[in-house]
């Protein structure tokens, strides 16, 4: 029975982690470049909504078969644009990042909610993206369901973990990102444009957060509601701290969170009852706990995190 429960928890939890993983990898690039983007939550809401909207509108037309792909494209594009807006406010204007992030969160959430309420209204389902079981491997006993029976976006997200590591640690762009996040003045002196690299990182981070939102509506929930994102954007930001700004650490954190959520669901299914509200609280309480324990890892973070850079001012 325990083994059975463990299997259920893993099979449920692994797909839950994808949205968090995508958004947190994006946020990692933002923070490695020195910008703390709390607007992640709003970007995910916008991405989730647009990814849902395209197949919802295109269903039944000649474009129908492409609806999901167009939706994911729109989600990434909107994330990129919101990242650009955030870059304008925090990098070019040098506004305080914490409050600006809350503003971006309200904006993304508000725009998605306004258009949704106007044209669609209540909770509406979509067909979404079906799982692609990997032939052969998905029929392996026990682990097949857990590892090889997911939507294509999930495989892509897991492949992004080594991809993000390579981009950050082995590519010249990654070196520039780490340089502007650690010592922007030194990077500037070496001829790296701090503004340009931070813009690029924020646009990449936004696109990934948008894609994470798209995963939520098309692959995970297969529907959209105003409060679909429910704090996952903020949890993704916390995961970056927890994962010590590394892709592997973030993957571990995303799995930990989704397994906790899956455990709670599996316990309810298996007849262990406790008030629903406390079950919903669990991931949020876990974030606070994790942040309290991650105190010492904070010193490993990018040195220039949260500090606007102005080349005209003396350090």
């Amino acid at each position: 029975v325990t083994l059975h429960l463990l299997h259920d928890v893993l099979a449920l939890g692994v797909p839950f982690s994808v949205a968090l993983l995508l958004a947190a990898l994006g946020e990692m690039f933002n923070q490695r470049a020195g910008v703390f983007n709390l607007g992640c939550e709003g970007i995910m809401a916008m991405g989730a909504f647009l990814a849902f909207l395209a197949p919802h509108l295109l269903g039944g037309t000649a474009w129908g078969p492409w609806g999901n792909l167009i939706g994911l494209g729109l989600a990434m594009a909107s994330g990129l644009l919101l990242g650009l807006l955030f870059a304008l406010v925090t990098v070019s204007f040098g506004a305080p990042q914490g409050i600006a992030g809350i503003g971006l969160q309200m904006l993304g959430w508000g725009v998605a909610g306004t258009i949704f309420r106007k044209f669609i209204g209540g909770v509406t389902g979509v067909e979404g993206i079906a799982a692609w079981p990997i032939p052969g491997l998905s029929r392996l006993p026990w682990v097949g369901d857990i590892l090889f029976n997911h939507t294509p976006l999930a495989y892509l997200a897991f492949l992004m973990v080594p991809g993000a590591w390579w981009l950050l640690q082995r590519s010249s762009w990654g070196l520039r990102v780490r340089a502007v996040g650690t010592h922007p003045r030194a990077a500037d002196t070496m001829g790296i444009s701090v503004v340009q690299v931070r813009y690029q990182a924020l646009m990449l981070g936004g696109a990934l957060a948008g894609l994470g939102g798209g995963y939520l509506s098309l692959c995970q929930a297969k529907m959209f509601a105003d409060d679909l994102v429910a704090g996952r954007g903020f949890i993704a930001v916390a995961l970056v701290y927890f994962g010590r700004w590394t892709p592997l650490g973030i993957l571990g954190g995303a799995l930990l969170f989704s397994l906790a959520q899956a455990l709670q669901l599996a316990m309810q299914v298996n007849g262990i009852h406790f008030p629903y509200e406390f079950a919903v609280m669990l991931p949020y309480a876990l974030v606070i706990l994790v942040l309290s324990l991650a105190r010492r890892s904070r010193q490993l973070g990018p040195a220039a995190l949260g500090k606007p850079y102005d080349r005209e001012r003396r350090a």
Partner: protein, 372 residues
């Protein structure tokens, strides 16, 4: 740089920021097929058409002032409290619990007790984030956001479970709401037949007290010093961690009081969705009011009008209420951006040069040119 250039510069930046904010909001309105002009016209004039609309603005201004005062204290003390929404709900729970536990108490005892309970509940909830920041260096934005989600779940748990009105269970409708508060716990209404209540007066008095506290007491000076420059403050012997916790206790207390005022003054029972976003709108009000009580009061009036007006546009123009969030978001982004330009000496200098080239300001005499 002359005083005049500074003024023109600040005015220009504010106008540009306002235009950008209105531009984004208009784009969203156009996207949903509503007329931006008609929508803004309804928001600006609709609530002022009659006494009811005007008093409704004041009804919303009271909690907004209280939340914004707390937010201003915390921001000025260097701790960004985003958790007013949760602190407010805990305040509602605490004051409702006290009112329902001792319904026999006379008004002069029960009403203050309820308000104090709200303050205590909110302060406890905010204090958690303050302690986490001071002792364990947990980012207060993330912790207060998470505490908001937790408080929202606690709130519905209590309304559906332990605190639900027994009549709801008898009638079977099961609406999650508490019993009606005894009348001794009600705040008096100010205008016969209207909903505006004494919470507004309380908020105005507290606005004056917060000004005194922050700018006329040593305690307030310590808080502001810790916020303005923690290193310098520590060097001067100020216990920065202590002032962070105290600031969060105060901020939470104000948000909790806003909750108590909503339940004692307006709804007379704890209902679902009681905060209606005041916790977030209060942050915008505090920023819009420059984190100063004297400007927070009119800013709360303006946002009260925005909220009442948005309700009206929902009916007249078919604009969903979520539009308020869009406006709040763009206003925050516009304010934080504009602030960076208003005090930036380089930006002021550039404006000065532009004005001189356009011939709008006289070229300074040779002996003045040397100054920065």
């Amino acid at each position: 740089v002359s005083h005049r250039i500074r003024l023109i510069h600040a005015g220009g930046v504010i106008l540009l920021a306002a235009a950008a904010a209105l531009g984004v909001a208009s784009a969203v309105l156009l996207a949903i097929g509503a007329s931006p002009l008609a929508t803004f016209a309804v928001i600006l004039t609709g609530p002022l058409q009659d006494l009811f609309g005007f008093t409704e603005i004041l009804v919303r201004a009271a909690p907004l002032i209280l939340v914004a005062l707390g937010v201003a204290i915390s921001f000025r003390s260097g701790i960004l409290n985003i958790g007013a929404e949760g602190q407010l709900q805990i305040g509602v729970l605490a004051s409702t619990a006290v009112a329902l536990a001792w319904p026999e108490l006379p008004r002069p005892v029960l009403l203050p007790l309820c308000l104090v309970a709200g303050v205590a509940g909110g302060a406890a909830w905010g204090g958690v984030a303050g302690l986490l920041r001071a002792k364990l260096e947990v980012n207060e934005i993330l912790s207060t956001v998470m505490l908001n989600y937790i408080a929202a779940q606690l709130y519905t748990f209590f309304l559906r479970g332990p605190m639900i009105d027994p009549e709801e269970l008898v009638s079977g409708s099961g609406t999650p709401q508490s019993m009606r508060l005894p009348e001794a716990a009600w705040l008096p209404r100010l205008v016969p037949g209207m909903r505006v209540h004494a919470g507004l007066i309380l908020a105005l008095v507290l606005a004056a007290l917060v000004w005194l506290l922050l700018w006329r007491t040593t305690f307030g000076f310590r808080l502001r010093a810790a916020g303005a420059g923690p290193k310098a403050a520590r060097y001067a012997g100020i216990q920065v961690e202590r002032s962070l916790v105290l600031a969060m206790l105060l901020a939470g207390g104000f948000a909790g009081l806003a909750g108590a005022v909503e339940v004692c003054g307006l709804h007379h029972r704890a209902i679902e969705g009681i905060s209606s976003g005041y916790g977030f709108a209060g942050i915008v009000v505090a920023l819009f009011g420059g984190l100063h009580p004297a400007a927070i009061v009119p800013a709360a009036g303006f946002f009260g009008q925005l909220l009442v007006g948005a309700d009206m546009t929902q009916r007249s123009e078919g604009v969903p209420a979520n539009m308020v969030l869009v406006l709040q978001g763009v206003i925050i982004l516009a304010i934080v951006s504009a602030k960076m330009f208003i005090d930036n000496p380089y930006a002021i200098e550039r404006t000065g040069r532009l004005l001189r080239r356009l011939g709008l300001v006289a070229v300074p005499a040779a002996d003045e040119r040397g100054e920065p």
